[in-house]
């Protein structure tokens, strides 16, 4: 196990964590403010990935494809909110889970009707396609580094939006007391739609950037959705700070676990046994982590302030 490999995998973990955060931020905001459990958040990620691939194919430019996919996913999100989800805010979580589960079935099938069931592969533009040296002798893919940079930038922007602007103030106020905000004359309905659109755009961005790394296919949203659930459960549902910490923890644990659990186990148990147990344990690691966190802190690491 060389230090170069450790560094590379740590960066990969950070890159995965950043993607998880882009997803988790929207999901946790929507839950914190609208009290809505949205399983279809993963579908927006998928829509973002497909739209980016389609726009990139159409325009011939990957960056333009991602840039166009952002507002497009935002519009899809707003359309979903207005037509289907708006009526669910006052319903209990069971109804929300089932109705958004229905949305997932719908979106997966719609995508496979339009683009087919086979995975689509998009390529990175040549300028981002290569490697660069982070340290002498340690090359790292430029594209993954780009994801980290974009993710950090968006996180800072989001932090600024939530803590420094009037809209952000309303978002925070909506999270702590919806009724009061609406009594003070804020158009809560519009606020909800905006927040949902924002979350959708973030998910779309994550999906668009995921295209060249992971396979773009129907159902791609669900795998990451469940990992995002783990993120926000560990971080504390409704808390953006918690989503941030949870995303980095989960991203790191998953990536490093997959890379190093097997060799580490092999030093303790026999290599053939480690060959079998390593990958199994690695794929369950984040769930075990979540169970451990919940055992000690049932509300997550950074519980959002009570709203009841």
């Amino acid at each position: 196990m060389s230090w170069a490999l450790v560094l590379e995998q740590t960066l990969n973990g950070l890159q995965f964590g950043v993607m998880l955060f882009l997803m988790a931020a929207g999901l946790t905001l929507v839950f914190g403010i609208m009290n809505l459990v949205n399983l279809a958040h993963g579908s927006l990620y998928m829509v973002g990935a497909y739209l980016a691939a389609a726009f990139a194919h159409w325009s011939g430019s990957f960056v333009l494809g991602v840039a166009l996919a952002l507002p497009a996913t935002l519009l899809v999100g707003i359309a979903v909110e207005v037509t289907a989800l708006r009526t669910l805010y006052e319903r209990d979580h069971l109804d929300q889970v089932l109705a958004t589960f229905g949305l997932i079935l719908f979106f997966n099938e719609l995508i496979s009707i339009i683009w087919g069931r086979a995975a689509i592969y998009t390529s990175v533009p040549t300028i981002l396609g290569g490697h660069f040296r982070i340290l002498p002798g340690v090359p790292y893919p430029t594209y993954r580094a780009g994801i980290i940079v974009v993710g950090v930038l968006v996180s800072v922007l989001l932090w600024g939006l939530v803590t420094r602007t009037r809209l952000g103030m309303r978002i925070r106020a909506g999270a702590s007391n919806r009724t009061m905000v609406s009594a003070l004359g804020v158009n809560v309905r519009l606020l909800y739609t905006l927040v949902f659109g924002l979350g959708a755009a973030l998910a779309g961005l994550a999906g668009a950037m995921a295209g060249p790394i992971y396979a773009v296919q129907p159902g791609m949203g669900e795998a990451i959705l469940i990992q995002v659930f783990v993120v926000i459960v560990i971080g504390g549902i409704g808390s953006i700070r918690g989503a941030m910490v949870g995303a980095i923890v989960v991203g790191m644990a998953d990536t490093l676990g997959r890379a190093f659990l097997k060799p580490m186990l092999a030093t303790v148990i026999s290599p053939p046994a480690a060959d079998k147990a390593g990958p199994a344990l690695a794929s369950m690691l984040i769930y075990l982590l979540m169970a451990a966190v919940l055992f000690f802190r049932p509300e997550g690491l950074f519980p959002a302030r009570s709203r009841s």
């Binding site: 069971l94 109804d95 719908f106 979106f107 997966n108 099938e109 549902i237 199994a280 049932p298």
Partner: protein
């Protein structure tokens, strides 16, 4: 008709219809229907077990398919090693899923609300990945069931009709036992904990323990359904535990009417029938099923059983 009579008539009609499926399928020479209805009843067992905790206990477990998988593997793994004793396999299925439900429940029930939904989902997902990593037993492709479970004497699962009536008998037993359970003191505490947990605790019930017991009973029952399902399909894959399967079982409960025990049976029958009809119609049947699901949730919360029997669903 009074509600009680309507309910009794609905139940009797349902029971007679289910009992008549094998002769009708034999007369019309359509063995496919025997297979379909047996599958429906197996899912009905799983849905009823979920209804026990979801409808009566208010525990929205989104990982119920995990126990289906455990039950299936409890049949498949011994069969792979040449152990085909059905009593042993079914016992193992029930014991293993009860044990797993105990662990999952003990951790998950420390939380509530949306946390509970997500945690049960995550645990099921964890078991799904565990299933994928079982290379010896087919990994993510799954494996053929080496042989169906063997029981003594005339109970022979290779006989489609015998297998059918065995499943029907288990379903009826489960409904009778479930009826008694929810009407018992235990059931009352569970329902009280759903309606108002602080109050139930204030009266002096340690609700956590009751809820965990209910959770384990539901898990064990779903494990039994999983063991039957492995015999039904003669094939088992980690997909038994896939989270969409959990969603389907949950939908069966809602579609049929939760908190009614008999509703989930109707829900299982209706959903599988709907899937059968829609998939014959188009390969993209889920694009129709999805919106139907949303409409049911939005407008028909009382479920089919509420519609047919006029039963009040709380």
């Amino acid at each position: 008709m009074t509600a009680d009579r309507r309910r009794a008539v609905t139940l009797a009609a349902g029971g007679v219809l289910l009992a008549l499926v094998p002769p009708i399928a034999a007369l019309t020479d359509q063995p496919f229907y025997l297979d379909l209805f047996r599958r429906m009843m197996i899912f009905a067992i799983a849905a009823v077990s979920l209804d026990l905790i979801l409808g009566y206990g208010g525990m929205v477990s989104f990982g119920h398919a995990a126990y289906l998988g455990i039950g299936a593997y409890a049949v498949g793994i011994p069969a792979y090693h040449g152990i085909t004793n059905g009593f042993l396999q079914l016992g193992l299925a029930v014991a293993a899923s009860a044990l797993v439900a105990l662990v999952i429940g003990a951790i998950s029930l420390r939380t509530s609300g949306v946390y509970f939904i997500m945690i049960t989902l995550a645990f099921a997902q964890m078991l799904y990945y565990l299933g994928i990593s079982l290379e010896t037993y087919g990994g993510d492709n799954g494996m053929r069931l080496a042989a169906r479970s063997r029981f003594v004497g005339p109970i022979d699962l290779a006989q489609p009709t015998t297998f059918y009536y065995l499943v029907l008998a288990i379903l009826v037993l489960l409904l009778v036992a479930g009826r008694r359970l929810v009407a018992s003191r235990f059931g009352m505490v569970i329902r009280a904990a759903k309606a108002n947990e602080p109050r139930a605790r204030a009266i002096g019930f340690s609700t956590a323990r009751y809820k965990l017991t209910a959770f384990v009973i539901a898990g064990a029952t779903a494990g039994l359904a999983g063991a039957l399902l492995a015999n039904q399909t003669e094939y088992l894959t980690p997909d038994f535990m896939h989270w969409t399967r959990s969603g389907e079982i949950m939908f069966m409960v809602i579609l049929g009417g939760m908190g009614s025990l008999f509703g989930p049976v109707l829900g299982a029958v209706a959903l599988l029938l709907l899937e059968d009809v829609l998939s014959a119609l188009t390969a993209h049947w889920q694009i129709i099923l999805g919106p139907i699901l949303i409409l049911v949730v939005l407008f028909a919360k009382r479920g089919l059983f509420g519609l047919l029997a006029g039963a009040r669903v709380d």
